[in-house]
C-alpha cells in the first residue's frame, strides 16, 4: 500500500506554489507571533527583563531573521489580498496568475526600501 494520501492533486504553477507559499509563511508568522507576545509580556515583569531580552535581538544575525520575517509578512499580506480578489472579484479567478506576478512586484517594491533602511540601521549600530 502506498502511504501517499489519496486525493492530493498537485497542479503546479502559480496557483499551487502561491498556495504553498501562503501556508508556509502563515505558519512561520504564527509561531513568531506566539514568541513575540511572550517577549513583549516581559514589560510586565521588569524594565530590566524586557531590555535584556530585546537587547539579544539587536545584532546583525537577528536583523537578518527580522528581514526574513518581514519578507514573509509582506508576501502573506499581498497574496492574501490576491486571494480575496480571487474570491470576490468577478475576473479574479481568470487573472489569478497575473495577480501573483503583481504580488511579487509589490513585494519587491516594498522589500527593497525596507531592507536598505533596516539593514543600514542594524549594521551601523544606531547609537
Amino acid at each position: 500500500m502506498s502511504k501517499t494520501p489519496a486525493g492530493t492533486l498537485y497542479r503546479g504553477r502559480e496557483g499551487m506554489w502561491s498556495w504553498v507559499g501562503h501556508r508556509v509563511t502563515g505558519v512561520a508568522i504564527f509561531f513568531f507571533l506566539l514568541v513575540h507576545v511572550l517577549d513583549t509580556a516581559l514589560v510586565r515583569v521588569s524594565p530590566d527583563a524586557y531590555n535584556a531580552v530585546i537587547a539579544t535581538y539587536k545584532n546583525p544575525f537577528m536583523a537578518l531573521l527580522e528581514a526574513g520575517l518581514v519578507a514573509a509578512i509582506v508576501f502573506h499580506a499581498f497574496n492574501g489580498l490576491r486571494v480575496i480578489l480571487i474570491d470576490f472579484w468577478k475576473k479574479g479567478p481568470k487573472n489569478q496568475a497575473k495577480m501573483l506576478w503583481g504580488v511579487v512586484g509589490l513585494w519587491v517594491v516594498v522589500m527593497v526600501p525596507f531592507l536598505i533602511r533596516h539593514l543600514t540601521l542594524a549594521f551601523t549600530g544606531g547609537h
Binding site: 505558519v27 533596516h118 544606531g126
Partner: protein
C-alpha cells in the same frame, strides 16, 4: 501501482447537503471562519504594516525599542487599541489558519484532536496574557532605575 485520485471529504465543517457522506450539519461555522479570514486579513495588513513602519523604520528603528519605548507607546490609548486589535485579530487569524492546516494533514482522529487542543490552549493563553499586559502595564514601576523608564515618569 496506480495513483489514486480519490478526493476525500473535507474533514472540517459544513458541506453542502448533496455532498454530505455522513453525520449532521455543524451550521455555518466554516462559512464565518472563511469570511473572518478575509475581513481580518484586510484589517491586519493595515495594522501590521503600520506597526512595522513605526517600530522599525522611523527614527532609530529597532535600536529605539526598549522598555521606555513600549511605555511611551502604551501611555497613548490609540496605541493600546491598535495593539489590542492587532493581538486579537492576528491570533484568531493565525489560529484558524493552523486549524485548517491540521485538518488537512492530520489524518487520524486522535492526532487531529490532540493537535487542535494544544493549538487552542496555546492561543487562549497568549490572547489572555497579551490582553492583560496591555491593560495592566505600569510604565513607571516603583524601584526601577529612572533611566530605563519613559521620560514622563520623572515629572
Amino acid at each position: 501501482m496506480a495513483v489514486s485520485t480519490e478526493i476525500q471529504a473535507p474533514r472540517s465543517g459544513r458541506i453542502a447537503p448533496e455532498y454530505k457522506r455522513h453525520g449532521r450539519s455543524k451550521g455555518n461555522f466554516e462559512m464565518f471562519a472563511w469570511l473572518f479570514m478575509r475581513l481580518s486579513g484586510v484589517v491586519l495588513v493595515v495594522l501590521i504594516f503600520g506597526h512595522l513602519f513605526v517600530n522599525l523604520m522611523v527614527g532609530e528603528g529597532v535600536h529605539a525599542i526598549d522598555f521606555g519605548f513600549v511605555g511611551g507607546k502604551w501611555a497613548d490609548p490609540f496605541w493600546q487599541v491598535w495593539d489590542l486589535a492587532m493581538l486579537w485579530l492576528a491570533m484568531l487569524h493565525g489560529t484558524n489558519g493552523v486549524r485548517t492546516i491540521i485538518n488537512d494533514y492530520a489524518e487520524k482522529d486522535g492526532t487531529r484532536m490532540t493537535l487542535k487542543t494544544v493549538l487552542y490552549l496555546a492561543s487562549a493563553v497568549v490572547i489572555v496574557l497579551g490582553t492583560l499586559v496591555i491593560f495592566t502595564f505600569d510604565p513607571c514601576p516603583a524601584g526601577a532605575a529612572a533611566d530605563l523608564l519613559p521620560s514622563f515618569c520623572r515629572a
